[in-house]
Amino acid sequence: MRINDRVFGLLMLILAVAYGWGAMQFPIPFGGQESVGPETFPIILSVVMSISAIYMMVKPDPDEKWSPVPMLIELIVVALSILLFAWAIEPIGFIPAATFVVSFLSWRMGANFVKSLITGVVSSVIIFFLFNNVLELALPLGLLEL
């Protein structure tokens, strides 16, 4: 199967066309038109990208196997967990958020529940104190502030 490259090439072709079209819509900069405007370089890029995208669709490489659907779902969950951590640093606090994300990741990578929890707690507490006291970069305490 050589479907990966064809699909990706198509996506990139769409991107290149949209990008090039976007470049043509730039307002004319203050001071009038120059030989190289803000759109010149993007238009060159859009052409280069279109050519390589078309080549990729015409002569695709053999596919690398994608994981089965459950694994892809798991990867999405992992990505979401890092996003959740990013969101939680300020309102909830660094230590609980980091404990959660490290424990979750290490559990998903195959550690048992207790060990991953220990890894999470220990690493987030150490990093918190290292950053706040030794390196003097303030990480938010969040809920633990009380």
Binding site: G22, P42, S116
Partner: protein, 506 residues
């Protein structure tokens, strides 16, 4: 000797207690990073940039810290090649050929020690080469006008795949992706908003450090999860070191040859460390009449290691003098320079001599530190290697995210980091290399600027890009860089594979 006195000034900078401290910390961290499976040198340096940045270190200190990390990672990479038979990155592949058999024969400690010595010699020779060549090249580079620079940037992308590159079109595409991302934000010279979609976060463009950490570190995490590689691999036990002076003398000529070849490969565009270690290994195999190459010959360990480390230092020459990196890790070092507001290139040597020569001197110091660290302390690094990735990777991810977060204290940066991680995962799945993406992001603004300057000077005449002998030469090399790999690449790669297979068949 102007160079000598500048170098002495450099040593005055590099031998202050503060600099030595950073060199030692960098060397230790670098060896760890290099030794950990799945964390290449580029990755490690990328994770540390935001930290060095938010700690407010001076440019010289951060550069010393990160070049030591770079050098240390090159040393560390060999540990997993020898003990696990898993190369940390492509150049380390040749070290597996004789390193692992040596370890199987119960000579793991000797293999590690010899490779440390060879690495030292390789780096040392290449650093001397850097001292000699860099000032000459930087003087020459002063002749470059904007159109030559534009051609040089094209050359950098064209040769990035290297002669061992697989699919040139994918390299071009990767570069285009990076360059496209670099155009996001307010255009510096006209003030026009480009592709910002009126999002405030995008006005200043995409921060390349976030992109680098996301593309490398986060996508690596996904790959670890996918491969169920959390438990790590079984490694060969390490024995007590019995190394005589004679053993060292035995590999000395090999290491010197390897270092010189590696340096040349590192400086040349498109050759890189893989070719450096490959050439020096094959040369050694040819020269030696009676050797047991492939079955654990010490010279087979020394040659690729010195070649590989020589190339790593050699790659700094184009990065420092022209501002055009030749490899992933030097691209990341370039990212650090740009984020410290230092623009590399010929002017660097005249404007910041303290910094350049301090860093070069620090490389000598760092090398000694690494040699001293690596022989007695290799056991500690080996122990660390046995910590399963299922505990290490999450912690590394946490450190990477904290580094990103501490730069601007904004969760949005972390959202971008995850997005780049997903992008990196998809790109790797369709076999699009990540390094040109990074390089495009880094060089995009400069490349556009030189195009602009060239065309403003010529009043919009595009032929200005090809009207000097120098720029025509650069364009020729660039085109060769794109075309040659189609011919040479399959040959070299099949040879590399053949020498690896023949070892495994035995």
């Amino acid at each position: 000797m102007e160079t000598m006195s500048l170098l002495m000034n450099g040593f005055a900078v590099a031998l202050t207690p503060e600099s030595i401290m950073f060199a030692v910390i960098g060397a230790i961290l670098g060896t760890l990073i290099g030794a950990l499976p799945g964390l290449g040198p580029a990755n490690g340096v990328a994770i540390l940039i935001p930290l060095a940045f938010s700690l407010g270190l001076s440019p010289t200190s951060s550069l010393i810290l990160l070049t030591s990390v770079y050098a240390g990672a090159m040393y560390g990479g060999r540990i997993s090649s020898i003990l696990l038979n898993i190369p940390g990155d492509e150049p380390a592949m040749m070290t597996c050929l004789d390193g692992y058999p040596m370890a199987l024969k119960g000579k793991a400690a000797e293999a590690l020690a010899i490779s440390a010595i060879a690495s030292f010699i390789g780096s040392f020779i290449a650093t001397i080469g850097l001292v000699i060549l860099a000032p000459i090249l930087s003087k020459f580079a002063l002749k470059f006008g904007p159109s030559e620079y534009f051609a040089l940037f094209v050359l950098a992308f064209a040769t990035l795949g290297g002669v061992t590159g697989k699919n040139q079109v994918k390299t071009v595409m990767a570069a285009a992706i990076g360059l496209m991302i670099s155009t996001v934000g307010i255009d510096i010279s006209t003030g026009v908003q480009r592709y910002t979609f009126n999002m405030l976060e995008l006005f200043e463009g995409v921060d390349f450090i976030i992109a680098i950490v996301g593309l490398f570190a986060i996508s690596e995490l996904f790959f670890f999860l996918e491969r169920h590689a959390g438990d790590g691999l079984k490694q060969v036990a390490i024995n007590k070191l019995k190394l005589t002076a004679r053993d060292i003398l035995n590999v000395l000529p090999t290491s010197i040859r390897g270092g010189i070849l590696g340096f040349i490969a590192g400086v040349l565009p498109g050759a890189g460390a893989s070719l450096g270690s490959f050439i020096s290994y094959s040369l050694e195999k040819k020269i030696s009449d009676k050797g047991e190459f492939g079955k654990g010959d010490p010279r087979g360990v020394a040659a690729p290691e010195s070649g590989n480390n020589g190339a790593a230092s050699g790659a700094l020459v184009p990065m420092l003098t022209l501002g055009v990196p030749g490899s992933g890790t030097t691209a990341v070092l370039l990212a650090m320079l740009i984020s410290l507001n230092i623009s590399p290139g010929p002017m660097l040597f005249t404007q910041n001599p303290d910094l350049v020569w301090g860093v070069i001197a620090a490389m000598f110091v760092g090398n000694f530190v690494l040699l001293l660290l690596n022989i007695p302390m290799v056991g500690i690094f080996v122990k660390l290697l046995s910590v399963p990735p299922k505990y290490l990777m999450p912690v590394v991810t946490l450190i990477a995210s904290v580094g990103i977060y501490s730069v601007s204290h904004s969760p949005t940066d972390l959202y971008f980091m995850v997005a780049f991680g997903v992008l990196g995962y998809i790109l790797r799945k369709v076999d699009i290399p990540l390094v040109p993406v990074i390089l495009g992001l880094l060089l995009g603004p400069e490349m556009e600027k030189s195009l602009r300057h060239a065309l403003v000077l010529s009043d919009g005449d595009w032929s200005v890009l090809f009207n000097s002998g120098l720029s025509i030469g650069l364009w020729t090399v660039a085109i060769l860089g794109l075309v040659l790999p189609l011919i040479v690449g399959p040959i070299v790669r099949s040879k590399m594979r053949k020498s690896k297979d023949s070892v495994q068949d035995d």
